[in-house]
């Protein structure tokens, strides 16, 4: 280990230190310190983001290629730290009901895992990241341990998740046994020189993909999602949906880009199958949901499917050129958009839950009259999730569709748009309940918690800004990939 190696994981170190500090202060200071803790976390997150961006200058590899500090990693570091900070701000609104300090620390620890996933250059780092993300999240789901649904969801998530981690590790072991290395770039080199016709490769590869598919909640490995999302306290759900999922997605994308190119003929059909299944199952099952958290859980499965479409074409051949860059950038851009609108939607759901005591569609009735701003924000998130302009979801989908068509997967693009039409039905149901139902008006406004309001506002402004002027974020994503691409060729 070189001293420079430590500076390359400085953001991870900062986040870990904040988490530790939060636990210590809480142990000695108790509840009165919550406000101060929130300030510490937000300030620390800003520092960590700045450090990530500044470190971008000396991009390269660290720990002998196990950790990458390229633009791709930086892009996701900024995103993940922001998601974590926003989730913690959201959780602050219920700091009297849940142990706020423990919850914040858990979110921060999980974030460290996500940061590693974005920076992974090695299967070992990948596994570390996955586990470091998953274990705190199991606890986050169950943090209200006296609630039946919370324990049920957490138990399902934990049992299936532990199993998936095992599968992932087994796949890694196979690949190591076959190639003699766990470094992604070296695996790719090995296969390029030795050929990939050994059928055992398929086994190792399949196990690896299954493990990751579980973590991103793709069909058919999605069974835990609705229960865990519904059972967890809403701020935890927001982190689970926006953070943990994108974290695993960043890892998966990394593995596909750097390690699996020689196997594209095997990987592409698998990813396409999972993507199509996720879009269809997620969108159709969401139609029947009455609980908005479950509805968003199934919709998040569908969005996993959309992003997987981009991952599927990473290695596809194109006459237009630059397809790999565009495919990766499309997934990255969609990840940002998805995080913004998901956080926002869960934040509004959280506000409604705190006022009405539930998250059923009925609880949203007449929100348009009782809390106009919350309702407008929710409408924007629903429009964005459907993919209608001028919300950012439109450009997210447009970019994914573009790479799909470019990569020759027009039929997958057609599946994407047809299932999007289906999704319009259930997203609009939320809007219908907010604005178009005549009942005794519940004129009680949802409580104007500054914390929730801030998250909703950031989500909404971000969604609209990226929807009207997406050029900056798209260019950043593209530039981030160019750096990652260079690394892949010089391991």
């Amino acid at each position: 280990m070189q001293p420079e190696d430590l500076t390359s994981i400085l953001p991870e170190i900062i986040i870990t230190l904040i988490a530790a500090a939060v636990l210590m202060v809480d142990a000695f200071g108790g509840r009165r310190t919550h406000r101060g803790l929130l300030g510490l976390i937000v300030a620390g997150s800003v520092v960590a983001i700045l450090v990530s961006v500044v470190l971008r200058a000396d991009s390269g590899t660290a720990f002998g290629g196990m950790v990458l500090t390229d633009g791709y990693a930086v892009f996701f570091k900024v995103l993940f730290i922001a998601i974590a900070a926003l989730s913690i701000v959201l959780a602050y609104a219920q700091s009297s009901e849940v142990p706020f300090a423990e919850l914040s620390a858990l979110i921060l620890f999980a974030t460290v895992g996500m940061l590693l996933l974005g920076a992974t250059g090695d299967l070992i780092t990948l596994y570390l990241g996955v586990e470091l993300t998953s274990i705190p999240v199991y606890v986050l789901v169950a943090i209200k341990r006296d609630r039946f649904r919370a324990t049920e969801g957490a138990l399902k998530y934990f049992l299936l998740g532990a199993f998936a981690s095992g599968v992932l590790l087994y796949g890694i072991a196979w690949l190591f046994g076959l190639t003699g290395t766990t470094n992604l770039a070296n695996i790719a080199l090995y296969v390029q020189s030795q050929g990939a016709d050994n059928p055992w490769f398929l086994l190792g590869l399949g196990l690896l993909l299954v493990g990751l598919a579980f973590k991103v909640a793709a069909v058919p490995f999605h069974m835990w999602t609705p229960d865990a999302y519904q059972g967890a306290p809403t701020p935890s759900t927001a982190f689970l949906a926006a953070g943990a999922k994108i974290g695993a997605m960043a890892g998966l994308l990394r593995v596909v880009v750097h390690g699996l190119e020689p196997w594209q003929d095997m990987v592409m059909p698998i990813v396409i199958a999972i993507a199509v299944a996720s879009m269809i199952v997620g969108n159709f099952v969401a139609i029947w949901q009455q609980d908005v958290k479950r509805l968003l859980a199934y919709s998040s499965i569908a969005h996993t499917g959309y992003m997987l479409v981009g991952i599927a074409v990473v290695h596809a051949h194109s006459e237009a050129g630059g397809l790999m860059r565009d495919a990766v950038a499309a997934v990255m851009f969609y990840a940002v958009v998805y995080a913004l609108m998901t956080l926002g939607a869960f934040a509004v759901t959280f506000a409604v839950e705190r006022r009405t005591g539930g998250t059923d569609l009925e609880n949203f009735q007449n929100l348009g009259r009782s809390s106009p701003l919350m309702a407008v924000a929710m409408a924007v998130f629903m429009i964005s999730l459907t993919g209608i302009p001028p919300a950012a979801g439109f450009f997210g989908k447009l970019y994914l569709l573009q790479v799909a068509v470019n990569g020759g997967l027009t039929w997958v693009a057609v599946v994407l748009v047809l299932t999007s039409t289906v999704s319009a039905y259930y997203y609009l149901r939320v809007v219908v309940n907010m604005y178009m139902v005549d009942i005794q008006p519940r004129l009680l406004p949802v409580p104007a918690s500054t914390a929730i309001g801030a998250v909703v506002a950031i989500g909404m402004i971000g969604t609209l800004v990226l929807g009207i002027y997406p050029a900056g974020a798209v260019e950043w994503a593209q530039a981030a990939f160019e750096e990652a691409g260079k690394l892949a060729n010089s391991p």
């Binding site: 237009a320 950038a329 001028p390 447009l398 068509v405 219908v432």
Partner: protein, 500 residues
């Protein structure tokens, strides 16, 4: 004149007004700002008309990079076809806001905001010269329409509005995939990757690709027009929509479909259009006859006019796919005229409903005795709808029929003429049952139109007469552009003859 981005002003002024409206407390002030915004848009589009050079292609163009990473531009421009649609659009929106001044009292701020955003979306569709920009406006307009029907609509509004959105979204999303495919096919053959509509419409594409892309575009436009069998959302949406919603829906939204056929389907996919010609002509004639027959049987006034729209829009598709200069010009005149006349008819029904709270024809009667002004205006627009010579409806239908006969297969023209006869039957019968006969007791005290309401209808009537007496003024606006489209078709070897 070149330095002022006049099209952008026309496009965005309603948005500016909408944002200002959000911060105003008073109904009067909100209307003043909305009226100012829509009126300025109207005045500016008239100014564009005045300085417009017909036959000079796309004019007043504005181009900026929007998302250069994906080759997407903010590009606006007008030719004669789009200018006429923009004029119709800004005119109807201004009148709608005036009408709302007298009739909308509930959730006024939200109402005006929605209407103004809707105007931005629709104007954008006609002005956009970049495919993605076009698509953005095409979809942006969905949301305000959804809200307009869903919030201010009638009893079954939720069903109607969700059906409207799902139908439209289904068609347009497939079009999006086709647009992207077009982008790559054009790029791969020419090396120029662009969403520029003018550039793309000049390219030539393989027959197989044309067929698939044509189908995707066709779905989007056919649902909007609406062509049979994609029309079932229309009666529901019309019946449940508030009056101004119906006016905009019938007056302009349906025109987006016809505009799409003319602007995109014919120039981009001439071979596929030729293949589809017979089928579309058959569907058009079915729409004309079926729409008219169903209108004849309606008991609800709004439904009657909704089905008459299906019938009249059948003439539009009939004209476009006759592949003749006359047919194409006629289709555009028919769109313009239908926008004015049907818009006016929906206003009339709205005014009737506000007074009687009833739209069922059986419950009305003899109103002409009480309401002389209303009776005169309704009769005028009913006759215009039938296509009385000297009024705008006649011009379009006559030219379309001419085009239909020129295809060489007379049966389409013959059957379409039957549609006109049927339209006389259902309109006059409706007028007889609603306005003549004995007055119902409950309606004895109701007041005739006030000045404002009458003024809105008179303004429409003036343009209807103008377009009927002086059609040349409007036709020469766009006839150079349509002959350009015809020339493109001829170069691709497409002839108007149905049987070859």
């Amino acid at each position: 004149m070149d330095s002022i981005p006049i099209l952008s002003l026309i496009l965005w002024l309603p948005l500016v007004a909408a944002v200002i409206v959000l911060f105003l407390p008073e109904r009067r002030a909100m209307f003043a700002v909305s009226l100012a915004g829509t009126l300025l848009s109207l005045v500016l589009s008239v100014a564009v008309w005045v300085s417009f050079e017909s036959g000079a292609g796309m004019q007043f163009r504005e181009t900026f990079d929007w998302l250069p990473a994906l080759g997407i531009q903010y590009a606006l421009g007008v030719d004669g076809i789009s200018l006429l649609m923009v004029l119709l659009n800004t005119f109807l929106f201004f009148l709608c806001i005036v009408y709302a001044w007298a009739s909308v009292h509930e959730r006024v701020k939200e109402y005006l905001f929605t209407m103004l955003i809707l105007e931005v979306g629709i104007t954008g569709v006609f002005l956009a010269l970049d495919f993605v920009l076009f698509y953005v406006f095409w979809e942006v307009m969905l949301i305000p329409m959804y809200v307009l029907i869903g919030v201010w609509g009638g009893e079954r509004r939720v069903y109607a509005t969700v059906k409207f959105v799902l139908y439209t979204l289904f068609g347009s999303l497939l079009m999006l995939v086709a647009i992207l495919a077009l982008y790559f096919v054009h790029g791969n053959t020419t090396g120029v990757y662009t969403f520029d509509i003018l550039e793309l419409t000049q390219g030539t594409y393989g027959e197989r690709f044309q067929l698939w892309a044509f189908l995707a575009f066709f779905l989007a436009f056919a649902i909007k027009v609406p062509m049979i069998p994609f029309h079932t959302w229309l009666p529901d949406a019309h019946v449940e929509a508030p009056t101004t919603g119906s006016v905009i829906l019938a007056g302009i939204l349906l025109k987006m479909g016809g505009y799409g056929f003319i602007r995109f389907s014919l120039p981009l996919f001439p071979d596929a259009s030729e293949l589809a010609q017979t089928a579309i002509l058959v569907l058009s004639v079915i729409a004309i006859l079926y729409g008219a027959l169903v209108a004849l049987m309606q008991t609800d006034l709004k439904k009657l006019i909704a089905y008459s729209s299906v019938s009249h829009m059948g003439f539009v598709t009939l004209g476009i796919f006759s592949f003749t200069q006359q047919g194409l010009d006629g289709a555009i005149m028919q769109m313009f005229s239908h926008g004015l006349v049907t818009g006016a008819l929906f206003l009339c029904v709205g005014q009737l409903y506000e007074r009687t709270h009833d739209r069922l024809i059986a419950n009305l009667g003899g109103l002409a005795h009480r309401w002389p002004v209303y009776a005169t205006l309704l009769l005028f627009f009913s006759l215009a709808s039938i296509g009385l010579p000297g009024l705008s409806g006649f011009v379009g239908e006559f030219m379309v029929l001419l085009g239909a006969f020129m295809t060489g297969t007379r049966i389409f023209g013959v059957l379409a003429v039957l549609g006109i006869i049927l339209s006389a039957a259902y309109m006059l019968w409706m007028y007889w049952r609603v306005m003549l006969g004995t007055l119902k007791d409950a309606h004895g005290r109701l007041e005739d139109l006030n000045r404002l309401e009458a003024a809105v209808l008179v303004a429409l009537a003036v343009v209807v007469i103008w377009a009927g007496v002086q059609p040349q003024m409007f036709v020469e606006l766009f006839t150079a552009d349509t002959s350009g489209i015809m020339q493109g078709l001829a170069e691709s070897g497409v002839s108007s003859a149905v049987i070859r």
